[in-house]
Symmetry: C2
């Protein structure tokens, strides 16, 4: 049995859905040899709570949703500690009997990959494992963090960084041994795909974007999606992990969809082509180049068929030719599942290497 | 280091491509802790050879391709032993120092799942592991063979049974922990998809089938494909492994494509729909039903976009909604890769459970 203490840094929608998923799957996780409890949660607007005896995580989630402060749960009196301070404090008192796992799901500043990258670094340095649904750390600092994790003998897992809980990184690591990934292409940003699909159906750009924002699916500030920054960060993350690219999102050649008109998108559709915001990364002569740009695809191209919030990633490989993973549904539970699947991977990997860890 | 002795039962195109892939990846496999040698190969028309000191597998492959008998390589004088006899004989002299692995790739009698199922049974009973690219054993006797393997503490792996080397079974086992598969749908037979695509482009049924046969892609007797038997066997295999269905291909409701006309297929296309031979399996009220039949799909359905020999499988899940694995390329190397990936899985699993095996 692996005993884990979970520390939530960021306690938004994804983290709270994950907490409920953990409760529902408690027996299943126990069967997989994982016994868990939550020992701390740091929020952006509701304060921070820590209790080394364990917190009732669902009650924490309910408190945040009711707009309360977490102060009343803070038995360990961590008060207004920053994310990094909280991690370091909890790491100081960790014991060999329980693994400390930081769940990093803060809101990302996409221009810098922060504060997520600092949280991951602090956690790995102080002896905690890290699971994150944030693309920032992998997009900005993968090679540094990966090497830090290896040196520290800790796990650094990030399945939720791209395409929510659909296995991408696990797929390559666990099921494609000896296969070389030579390139990637995909549709990775849901907001722009929703907007483009709506434009094909006759909506205008602003109208369909407003619709997504009203539904709470797109951020109020949609420029990160519209200008291709979100897609560029995901492309950098994929290129770094799967192609050893060592690039940042700024090095991804980037064109957004803000200049497209409904008329243009519908003219393409009438000619049997579909406009999609396509991410590409390819290794050639030892160098990786990456770009994000709208492309007109023939309508029987796999990527052209993606409607609304659907995503897909095509892997270009040496032994298997092109293969693709497609996300046909979507939603909060899928991202929360990414954290769950990383927790299972963590337990399996830690047990596999037991006795050889420092 | 895991040392494996490989026994080929069936030494056709797939097995011979695999042997060459093994040679090319020898160093990579050694890095993964696998040291291999070939100790026997049984062919349908070129006799059988065994050598407990190891055979030069590439020379064996060349001999078969030149039309020679393998008699000259048969240092152990197994002569005209049947597949089952060969397996039992080699198993008798196996030692703890080396794992015995049977690679089963014989030609399948799809009405009975034989002789593949007998070979798998004999191998597991006599203490060998089994890797097969044959759908027969999983389609006809999955639950029996799985339980036999568990009791014997041996591995029974079959990634190549469906969609060649594209990870399907490994995907679910290794990357979707705690996810429940509730249903499946897919396009799994390449020959019929090629024929249907050609009919859309103006060819007639017989004409495009003959083209595939001339290219060596479809069998001379294409009825197994055309009547939906191949798809039904794959559907049963998937339903048995992923939905615990315990059915045989005969229990899959089956309609082939032999009655379709080019005119009909093109009329559907003109109306924006595409005819595909679709496999479906679903669990409802604890019971699994499965069927294979031509369906007219809207052209933006993922399955409708599959051209020529492309395949896809959609998993209907509880936590992740629908997700899909798509095979965009294809060919002999992909099926050979399925055997390679199973060999890596075998080594990983055997090492994981070392010390607890009987």
């Amino acid at each position: 049995m692996l005993r884990v203490d979970l520390v939530f840094v960021g306690f938004g929608n994804v983290a709270r859905r994950f907490v409920r998923l953990l409760e529902v799957r408690r027996a299943d996780l126990a069967r997989r040899g994982i016994e868990w409890r939550v020992v701390a949660a740091a929020t952006r607007r509701h304060g921070t709570a820590a209790n080394s005896e364990g917190l009732d995580a669902v009650r924490l989630a309910e408190a945040v949703e009711a707009g309360w402060s977490l102060h009343g749960f803070d038995a360990d009196r961590v008060g207004s500690a920053s994310g990094v301070q909280l991690i370091e404090r909890l790491a100081e008192r960790r014991t060999e009997a329980r693994e400390l796992v930081v769940l990093e799901t803060t809101v990302l500043d996409i221009a810098a990959g922060q504060p997520a990258t600092d949280h991951v670094r602090a956690a790995l340095r102080s002896g905690a494992h890290v699971i994150t649904a944030n693309k920032g750390p992998v997009a900005f600092a993968f090679s540094e963090l990966e090497s830090l994790a290896r040196t520290a003998g800790r796990q650094f897992l990030y399945e939720g960084a791209v395409m929510d809980g659909i296995p991408i990184f696990n797929l390559v690591r666990e099921t494609l041994p000896s296969v070389q990934i030579q390139g990637l292409r995909g549709v990775l940003n849901s907001t722009t795909n929703f907007v483009l699909t709506a434009m094909e159906r006759g909506r205008e750009f602003g109208e369909s974007l407003a619709e997504m924002q009203a539904a709470g699916i797109a951020e109020a500030d949609a420029s990160l999606d519209v200008d291709g920054w979100d897609a560029a960060a995901k492309t950098a993350a994929l290129a770094n992990v799967l192609l050893d690219a060592r690039i940042t999102p700024q090095e991804v050649e980037r064109t957004g969809i803000g200049h497209l008109t409904g008329e243009g998108v519908r003219a393409a559709a009438a000619a049997g082509r579909r406009v999609k915001l396509v991410s590409r990364a390819v290794r050639r002569d030892g160098r990786v180049t990456a770009r994000v740009a709208p492309e007109e695809l023939p309508q029987d191209d796999l990527l052209a068929t993606l409607r609304d919030q659907q995503n897909a990633l095509v892997f270009e490989t040496d032994l298997l030719g092109d293969l693709s993973m497609v996300q046909l549904g979507g939603g909060l539970t899928q991202t929360a599942y990414a954290l769950l699947s990383d927790l299972v991977t963590l337990a399996r990997t830690v047990r596999r290497s037991e006795g050889v860890r420092p």
